[in-house]
């Protein structure tokens, strides 16, 4: 397993798949980064929002696809807002560790609920069949690319453009950026805390729903730990990229998704047993060299007093 064999095994299809995965992870990174920006809260339960969406898709598999997707959006966004109201709001201002552990607890709980639902009908996991056709490959210039990859990249591009327009061109976006930079001062200047936070949570839920649809297309077998691993990987990517700014966080999410895709696609499994070690050793190295984030140029690592 050397770098050369890694490169040699790369083909256009792996590359396309990796870009697709990177795009999905980038969306998750935005969802996590948005909430972190206004609440300073790392939402570990983000993966369970996606899981809830995936379950909705699985349970509504016999509906028309459009309605099924609408149901998924409704459930995920509602759950996201409920989570904010019931847990995040009472914990506003608590220490980061406490907020993080509270989201662990919520994640545990939602996972347990999913397990209970699963046990009810005597199967572990559900299969979302209705939207699976998107996973079929289509041929572009002799390269088989799955339709979902194209959808993922297109959706991510559109979402990024909309997000940039929202943050840079609207008053609400200005408020959100101000809140992310310094919440206290922003409130003194008339930014309404609850509105900004609720909007960030709403957007983050919307993104989770989009990700739920796209992940379910690729992995139609939905279980209680759906998207759990992805969330952990994205959290790592977000911090490695630089969580303090939305665009560095997004880039971090894309980078880790792309890298994961390349590595998984290019190497046969028997050669990859120690690969997680190599990847995470790299993560440690990057964090040591650039603790503020890989893409956070021109910023000091230590906090100002």
């Amino acid at each position: 397993m050397s770098f050369v064999t890694l490169l040699a095994a790369l083909d256009a299809q792996t590359l396309a798949d990796s870009v697709g995965l990177g795009a999905i992870y980038a969306l998750m990174a935005i969802g996590i980064g948005l909430v972190f920006g206004v609440l300073r809260l790392v939402n570990f339960a983000y993966g369970q929002l996606i899981m809830a969406g995936a379950y909705t898709l699985a349970f509504t598999a016999h509906w028309r696809v459009a309605w099924s997707i609408v149901a998924c959006f409704v459930v995920v966004v509602a759950l996201s807002l409920v989570m904010d109201r019931a847990v995040f709001r009472p914990l506003r201002g608590a220490s980061p560790a406490v907020m993080l552990v509270a989201t662990f607890a919520i994640a545990f709980m939602l996972q347990a609920i999913a397990l209970l639902v699963d046990i009810r009908d005597n199967t572990i996991g559900e299969i979302a069949t209705s939207i699976a056709p998107l996973n079929q490959p289509t041929s572009i210039g002799g390269v088989d690319i799955r339709k979902i990859t194209i959808v993922a990249v297109a959706v991510t591009a559109v979402v990024l453009a909309l997000m940039a327009a929202l943050l840079l061109r609207t008053t609400l976006g200005l408020h959100m950026r101000a809140a992310a930079a310094d919440f206290g001062t922003a409130r003194l200047l008339g930014v309404r805390a609850n509105r900004v936070i609720a909007f960030a949570v709403f957007l983050s839920g919307l993104l989770a729903a989009i990700v739920a649809v796209m992940l379910t297309v690729q992995f139609p077998f939905v279980g209680p730990d759906f998207a759990l691993r992805d969330t952990i990987v994205v959290l790592v990517g977000v911090v490695v990229g630089g969580i303090d700014r939305l665009w560095t966080a997004t880039l971090g999410g894309f980078a880790i998704g792309f890298t994961t895709g390349i590595i998984n696609g290019a190497l046969p499994t028997e050669q990859t047993v120690f690969l997680p070690s190599a990847v995470f050793a790299l993560v440690i190295l990057v964090l040591l060299l650039r603790p503020g984030g890989l893409f956070a140029w021109g910023r000091t690592a230590t906090e100002r007093v």
Partner: protein
């Protein structure tokens, strides 16, 4: 005089609680004994984690790596020689051809955990905040990956079994007491005080000459040694262990115990571990159906829902944990 009485109580309260649980384990039926001993092992792990996170204020997801290393070192080194070559044929000869006694294996686990923590901490302790959290998490991933795949040092992905089950009520109680005393001694020492100063105000602590990196490294090493010791206790309690048992789930659970008890005090670590363990054991029993006054029969699998909900509720009502992050005092 008053001050030394306070100090004595701060140590005595968690110690007595642990002894009470130890005695309790001998009074109940043998099927319930495991809950008590499990709770004691949780206390050891949570106190070990507390020594670093509680004193430094730096979040670490990596302490479970040291528990894992301690557990596997102690486990591999105590499997009887005659069966070792059979179950673990690929081991390095030095591991394969030696077996040590029970107490030695506990100390070996502590030494391995401490040494590993020292090596890892040397570069990592420069980090703080989320970067530290993710970097220590990366350490856990690397440790888990290597323990799982490298069959020359352990069982790999299979179960490590045939470990002598020597952690009984006496050993568990004494072991946990040792961990608590060590943690208490550390936090009273000048190392512990300097580190706590840096937790409260890093810049001010630096200003009076505290080397934050060095103090964090000390705490990380002590915490690693205690975690290794706790892991050794755990493996001798269970008799068999897989790498998955000392990985993500236990990391989250023990961290939750610490936060529920109160991050910044030894009393919080002990109380949190015991309260959450008690709740968990009760819910396991409730799933089978128990009678407490009224008969309670929860549906199968609902335990984690209640556990998650109660933990979230505690944090919402008391964000600083059950103890408020303070040591035990008679008068508030």
């Amino acid at each position: 005089m008053r001050r030394s009485l306070d100090l004595a109580l701060q140590l005595a309260a968690p110690a007595l609680l642990v002894v009470a649980v130890g005695i309790g384990s001998t009074l109940v039926s043998s099927s319930n004994e495991i809950y008590f001993l499990n709770a004691l092992c949780s206390v050891a792990i949570v106190v070990a984690i507390y020594v670093f996170i509680g004193n430094s204020g730096v979040l670490s997801f990596g302490q479970m790596s040291f528990v894992a290393v301690g557990a596997f070192v102690a486990g591999v080194m105590t499997i009887p020689l005659e069966s070792k070559t059979g179950v673990l044929p690929q081991l390095f000869p030095v591991l394969r051809d030696h077996t040590v006694g029970n107490v030695t294996s506990l100390l070996l686990g502590a030494a391995a955990g401490g040494l590993f923590a020292l090596l890892v901490g040397l570069p990592l302790m420069r980090l703080s905040g989320l970067a530290a959290g993710i970097a220590t998490f990366a350490v856990l991933e690397v440790t888990h990956n290597i323990l799982r795949e490298w069959t020359k040092i352990g069982p790999g992905a299979t179960t490590l079994s045939l470990v002598p089950e020597t952690t009984d009520a006496v050993q568990a109680t004494i072991g946990v007491l040792a961990v608590i005393v060590a943690a208490f001694a550390y936090q009273l020492s000048r190392f512990g005080r300097r580190l706590r100063a840096s937790r409260e105000d890093t810049a001010a602590a630096r200003g009076v000459g505290v080397s934050v990196h060095r103090e964090r490294l000390w705490a990380f090493t002590v915490s690693g040694a205690l975690a290794g010791f706790a892991g050794a206790l755990l493996v001798h309690l269970l008799g068999s262990i897989t790498t998955e048992q000392v990985y993500l789930e236990l990391t989250f659970l023990t961290l939750a115990m610490l936060v529920v008890g109160g991050l910044t005090s030894l009393w919080g670590a002990v109380l949190g571990a015991l309260v959450v363990s008690a709740l968990d054991s009760f819910l396991i029993e409730a799933e089978q159906g128990v009678k407490v006054g009224v008969s309670l029969d929860l549906p199968q699998g609902s335990r984690l829902i209640f556990l998650g909900a109660i933990m979230a509720l505690v944090l919402i009502v008391r964000p600083t944990g059950l103890t408020g992050g303070r040591e035990f005092r008679l008068v508030r």
